[in-house]
Symmetry: C2
Subunit: 277 residues, 2 copies
């Protein structure tokens, strides 16, 4: 058996949001180990420059490689949009982001060729969803909408709250007049607002959760490269899944325990700036 098959998958995000992607990987690939890194010292990425996002992503890739991962999932839309292309050429293990799988599924889903994207400022401004969608079908119209308060609202646990409803109504008002039939939840926090967004957009709009599509894509990729673990792990969750952060303060544990189907025992702080690139 290929030893590398037993290696974990690395997953990283600017903070807690990527846990929605890790959760999908746990569901769809229950026998894969995961090393998760949340860049809680430098969260949020959404308002930062491409130059810094690229530097941060390189540092995290270096850290994950030091943990012996066999593949990396960039579970952050901003980093997928701004850093993935460069990093892909710099490393010798497979790496995928969340943007392409989300874009591909949206293209398959739309009937009227009108797709909406909601995301952070940086992701919307990067227009990368639009770019990927147009690579697949240049006839599709893509309408982007930044929802900057969604991340703080989710991180405050205000998933079902009239304030969140009000902000969602404002952010989505423009999209509702655009006759889209498909809407990409283009930030890893947004699947946690799926019910609110779905209610406002109505039944005729299909919501695309890139976390789900990314886990599917990871499975294909591991199979293609003969890297998928084909044994059975005799480990509990806290052995199978390791969690690292760049700042131990804040609410990582609370938030993680509210998202994941088990309680995390250990969260290890890493001096990420020491991973010089």
């Amino acid at each position: 058996m290929n030893d590398l098959k037993q290696a974990p998958v690395g997953v990283f995000d600017s903070g807690v949001g990527g846990l929605t992607v890790a959760r999908e990987i746990m569901r769809q690939l229950p026998d894969e180990r995961i090393v998760y890194f949340g860049d809680t010292a430098r969260v949020p990425y959404g308002s930062k420059s491409k130059e810094n996002i690229l530097k941060y992503s390189r540092q995290i890739v270096k850290f994950l490689k030091s943990k012996g991962v066999k593949a990396i999932v960039v579970a952050c839309n901003t980093a997928s949009a701004l850093a993935l292309d460069e990093i892909k050429d710099e490393i010798d293990i497979p790496i995928i982001g969340v943007v392409k799988p989300g874009a591909r599924t949206a293209v398959r889903s739309t009937k009227n060729k009108r797709i909406g994207v909601i995301a952070t400022d940086a992701t919307i401004k990067s227009e990368l969803y639009t770019e990927f969608i147009h690579e697949l079908d240049s006839d599709i119209t893509v309408v982007g909408q930044a929802c900057p308060l969604f991340v703080p609202l989710v991180e405050e646990g205000m998933l079902h709250d009239e304030v969140t409803d009000e902000m969602a109504k404002r952010y989505l008002a423009g999209l509702k007049t655009e006759n889209i039939d498909t809407l990409i939840l283009g930030c890893t926090h947004y699947p946690l607002l799926r019910s609110t967004v779905g209610r406002i957009m109505g039944d005729k709009v299909t919501l695309i959760n890139p976390a789900y599509e990314t886990a599917m894509r990871l499975k294909e990729l591991l199979e293609d490269k003969d890297l998928k673990f084909d044994g059975k792990l005799n480990m509990d969750e806290n052995e199978k899944y390791e969690f690292f952060v760049s700042d131990a303060g804040g609410k990582f544990r609370t938030f993680a325990n509210s998202i994941l189907p088990f309680d995390i025992d250990t969260i290890t702080q890493v001096e990420i700036e020491e991973y010089i690139v």
Copy 2:
């Protein structure tokens, strides 16, 4: 004339919030030059650990000293609360924060010895306002309330908005039952919500803006140390005031121009992590 008198004052914050303090210094000390540093790459500080806040503050102090400042104002409540005491012992120029001046004025203001503090999670948890207030008068009751959504709401420009009103009502509901007569706006963004907070708290509660008090304290300090510039500067605002950030992305310029009484010409990006401490 003492050459050092002509040196600028360094002012730093995790981002744009400290501009409310810089603005007060510009008003009260119109002939002092200012070098402002906003740590936009690592904002917000409010959810980060003491260890990281201390490291970041040391790096910024090193940067400001490289610009030849004669004194430093820590225009960030979190850094004032978590890093100022250590840093004060490490440097050879005067340094003040925003917490002590705010606490001192609140103690002078209260008649019924009941003071409220609203701030970020980290500032409230540090209990430093409580500590400073109790050093001055241990009979005073201090009631703290974290308002985590205020910073993103202010940064989205939602200063006069029903969503901000609703969040303010929720955050302040507990304080309203505490019979406080004085409320410290313990985060540099909060003076921009002064009218909302004032309306909810009512006329009988005096709002304390530490930015104002800090500029007063800076003036005293410069006089005491014979560092106050006593000439007249023949410079326009964009010569007198220099602005540096750790990340040029985001909304620093828009926000700064909405707060300051002039438009900033140049904002320079600094690789702050290269200031190794």
